[in-house]
């Protein structure tokens, strides 16, 4: 009997808002990185196990405090709070929660560190850089839950649901192919619980699309994950 399930949905719309493609399916699994972080989050600062975790770029970190670099004891495992996210992949860009997109399918999504191929949706320019081809269009720090999240759980017929939605606009002059997607969260070390600078970023769920989709210049791709808690 299921106690948690997830489903993704991808919609591509042209520059006039007409629906071109819809893909929808069950998400298959959490990633191994998520599992290791989840386990570490049961512990305190004195005895957290040392488990390897890879960020979206494939950089290795360790839970606990005996190996370096470490993420310590994860404090907010599911954080999608844009206001406290930070630079990614370096200081010229700022990371955008929460569904990042890649151009290739992943060989094994459960073992992937993020969407595969080239990362095409993840970030906005912070200073002096060329933008990523897909730019967020529904992210709004003045909106409840940044305009991307759900502020309270919904009770549907047979479950509570939580949904995260990102709407990305192709601002480049070339078509963009999307073949994989990832639900990405930021991390805090419990020792920095009062800070507001989330990093690193890891993928808790990675899915391949059944067929790659093309997002032409000026078109939108809307991606969502809905988490179900059956009751």
């Amino acid at each position: 009997m299921s106690v948690l399930a997830a489903r993704y949905r991808v919609e591509v719309r042209d520059d006039k808002g007409r629906l071109i493609t819809v893909l929808e399916d069950d998400s298959k699994s959490f990633t191994q990185n998520f599992m290791n972080l989840l386990v570490a989050s049961h512990y305190n600062q004195n005895n957290a196990p040392t488990l390897v975790v890879y960020d979206v770029l494939g950089n290795a970190y360790y839970t606990g405090y005996t190996a370096s670099p470490n993420v310590g004891v994860p404090f907010q495992l599911f954080n999608i709070d844009f206001g406290c996210w930070s630079y990614f992949p370096h200081a010229y860009y700022w990371a955008v929660p929460a569904i990042w997109l890649g151009t290739s399918p992943c060989a094994n999504p459960a073992l992937a560190n993020g969407p595969c191929g080239s990362l095409v949706a993840c970030c906005v320019v912070f200073v002096n850089a060329s933008p990523y081809p897909l730019s967020p269009s529904n992210l709004n720090q003045n909106a409840p839950c940044d305009g991307i999240g759900q502020c309270s759980p919904s009770l549907a017929n047979d479950s509570w649901t939580l949904t995260v939605v990102d709407n990305w606009l192709n601002i480049s002059s070339s078509p963009v192919t999307v073949a994989s997607m990832a639900l990405v969260f930021g991390l805090y070390d419990i020792k920095n619980m009062n800070s507001c600078s989330m990093s690193p970023f890891y993928a808790a769920i990675v899915d391949n699309l059944p067929t790659p989709v093309t997002v032409s210049p000026g078109w939108y791709i809307t991606t969502s994950y809905t988490i179900y808690f059956p009751v």
Binding site: S29, H42, P49, Q150, I190, C196
Partner: protein, 223 residues
Amino acid sequence: MPKSMVSVTLRIEVRDDKGRVVKVIETPSRSFTKNFATILLASQWTEFSIPGPAPTYTFYDVMGNPIYVIGWTPNPPSNGVYFFDVGAIFYSEPQYIASPYQSYTIYMPGIWPGASPCPSPIYANGPCSPISTSVLSPSLFSFPSSPVYTTSGWQLTYSQMWTNVTSTPVTVSSVALVFGATGDAGSPIGYVLYAAIVDNVSPPILVLPNYSVTFTYTMLYAI
């Protein structure tokens, strides 16, 4: 309903005073509690984004007390228990539990037994009629140190044994998987205890004097 990503099994094993297994029950757990869904959602946001000081999220601890999540404010309320935000939600150690729980019927994370069934386990705040540790004495709570990889997914296993230290039989009709949760450093010091899963035991099990009962929750994260 989409394909399951997480399923949970509850195994209950009763042993006599010589350690012999006298009863085994294995049953699927039905669901996480509403409190868990609320805490998980609240933990997506830092104190800087949760609008306050009116409570944005409210969940209930094992004693049924409301815990308010209010966002950061220089003037937090003077009554009630509040978090500015929610950070750790799976804490399983016996240390650092907030003081109100240290005199409660049970006072640490674990798999708690209750004497009564819960009318609706999904909405329960803990096991119903929690059984005192002076009746069923707990062993240490065993929780995962690494995910165990199997052909069907990763397994996380939680287990705790309780021994009847009285001279009369004890009936267990509900159990709850209880974790600690805390907010950031501005929130009250220590972890509050809440139930992530509550299950009724049907039919109830009887634990005779000097007998022990072990509750094991196995969570399968499918791949």
